[in-house]
Symmetry: C2
Subunit: 353 residues, 2 copies
């Protein structure tokens, strides 16, 4: 049976048309079905504009929206008919296999926790992100869901990100590095030093500390950090990449020779942009939930949405969550998993947009 | 009287010759004196190779070196005749006005603490760094000296970095931002939320939270974070800038048109490189010490060393430390300074290379 994805059409800075267009591309190119959640009138208009009628596209009308600046947990509790809440409701009832949204990431997280809950033994679900690098893509986790972490949380991020790397990029034993400020195991803050000991005892393919510089080398499959550090890294990278291109464009417009040079080399610049384009990787997976979810960048265009749907489908087909459970069982057998780290005894995940 | 700088010739990846060459450039271009500390034979050889004899250059022979991988505090305690230890000894005796080193930054920090101590009321000295941006340079602190911080430490980093920004870049009331993962004051981890309250109560020109993306926009004069986050940011930036250039070079070498284009636009690339070149800013100031010190990147070339010497001289001439003391007094009057935050009652700064 084809994988069935729920798409929250009301999230994203570009409006419903871009989301619908991404879904249309997805059902045309890939073997799957998509349910579009949001204002039915806007969805039908977007489909009409694209002249699309496709039995693999379904519509579920929802009447509420959670905006970017709302408090996630409160909004999810109050707005029962918000697109993202209804989407995870469908997932809970097994009427879809995964949820994709480009809306408020905190609300996406909160809706997932509320509707489908966490995987057993997972203390804190989190958000992973895929970084383009000089070699292989690197999976970084957490990139914003958990800002104050304990060593056990970081260890579990390692388990989840390793399972994701294995399933998405075919790494049998993905290498796992701990983000710190020196390569030796003794370096870092208290959280990192204590997490280092947990990783050493585990059966993960742990390679020790890595530094910020290493992220873009692509020599490590997985890099682990708390959600505050991860989110800062993500935004520093975005900001620097944009600043570098802006400075370069400025310099390239200063002389005729430079302008001609830029014109001749324009295909190189296009290839380069494609290489560092986050939309190629289709959003950031929520990991640790009892179900599959992807949060996309607010600025996502149709292509990014299509790729996010593709990644969600691959996560479902290749059973990422089964791999996570297996790695957690291994960790428990190795005595690395904290006792009592079942969902009910843990505080709810803090979330950020 | 000319400002007198002590230069640790034994630090730096490029060896004594590059350090000596930087000092030679400094005394030629600027009105100052430099004392070179290290192996006298190597220093004399470097001066001989450059055919330089200059009465503004002095040599102090030292017999020991602290390498990059030594434990800073232990090394500084044991190696009394290490170049960096003797340099701060000269500063203590007021025989020089400032110290510049491209060696082990932890050892530089430890030698400074041991020999000259902290400024009164400073809980934790730290290391600031200047980031090139689309507009004005941004001063970020701490970038690696203090990995586990309390709100009071971050607040004091704000005081020190603001004084530095004022003196070096002529900002009368530099804007101070707190690095977080959302712009609203309520966002961030516990440390950031508590620090936010301290900044709000102070007389600093505090503009609230800023995000990683904002660093390179140059809209804020000063950005504050703990040393773990700051060091990660610094290394992520270095790594990404290198990766971006490597990917672009690769794309530009793929076709004849691109190669010709690159040739025509080569001056634009050179200007661009100069724009993002950290060596233009001459190293990272140690702030909070009872004296002036600069740590340079290990890879510093002669120009970077010359610029670091220049910045050190400007810090001395413009009395950065007097400004810090004044801002601390203001903070005390505003009730923001923690009681008992005198050097003797505080644990020693943790340091990293």
């Amino acid at each position: 049976m084809a994988v069935h994805i729920a798409l929250d059409v009301m999230g994203g800075d570009r409006g419903p048309a871009a989301m619908v267009s991404g879904a249309v591309q997805a059902v045309h190119e890939l073997d799957l079905e998509v349910t579009l959640l949001g204002d039915a009138q806007q969805i039908n208009k977007a489909l009409g504009d694209l002249r699309v009628q496709d039995s693999r596209l379904h519509i579920v009308h929802t009447s509420q929206i959670i905006s970017m600046d709302e408090s996630p947990i409160e909004a999810v509790r109050k707005k029962r008919d918000a697109s993202i809440v209804v989407a995870f409701g469908l997932l809970k009832e097994a009427r879809v296999d995964a949820v994709v949204s480009a809306g408020n990431s905190g609300a996406t997280m909160a809706a997932a926790v509320r509707m489908v809950g966490r995987l057993k033994k997972i203390a804190r679900p989190g958000i992973a992100s895929v970084f383009p690098t000089l070699k292989n893509p690197v999976v970084m986790m957490d990139v914003g869901a958990n800002v104050d972490c304990r060593p056990q949380h970081l260890f579990q991020f390692g388990v989840m990100a390793a399972a994701f790397s294995r399933v998405l990029f075919g790494r049998q034993r993905p290498t796992v590095g701990l983000l710190s400020i020196g390569e030796e195991g003794g370096k870092g803050n208290t959280l990192v030093k204590q997490t280092h000991e947990l990783f050493l005892k585990s059966s993960l393919n742990y390679i020790g500390n890595v530094e910020g510089r290493d992220i873009f080398q692509g020599n490590t499959d997985v890099i682990i950090c708390d959600g505050f550090v991860g989110n800062v890294c993500l935004k520093v990278s975005e900001g620097l990449a944009e600043a570098v291109m802006a400075m370069l464009r400025l310099e390239l417009s200063k002389s005729v020779a430079a302008k001609v040079g830029y014109f001749l080399a324009r295909h190189a610049f296009t290839s380069f942009k494609k290489r560092v384009d986050y939309s190629e990787y289709g959003g950031a997976p929520l990991l640790g939930m009892n179900g599959t979810g992807i949060v996309c960048h607010g600025r996502s265009d149709a292509k990014a949405i299509k790729n996010a749907i593709k990644v969600a489908a691959e996560m479902v087909r290749n059973r990422v969550n089964d791999h996570i459970v297996q790695l957690l069982n291994d960790a428990e057998a190795a005595g690395v998993l904290e006792q009592g780290s079942n969902p009910d005894s843990m505080e709810p995940a803090e979330t950020v947009t």
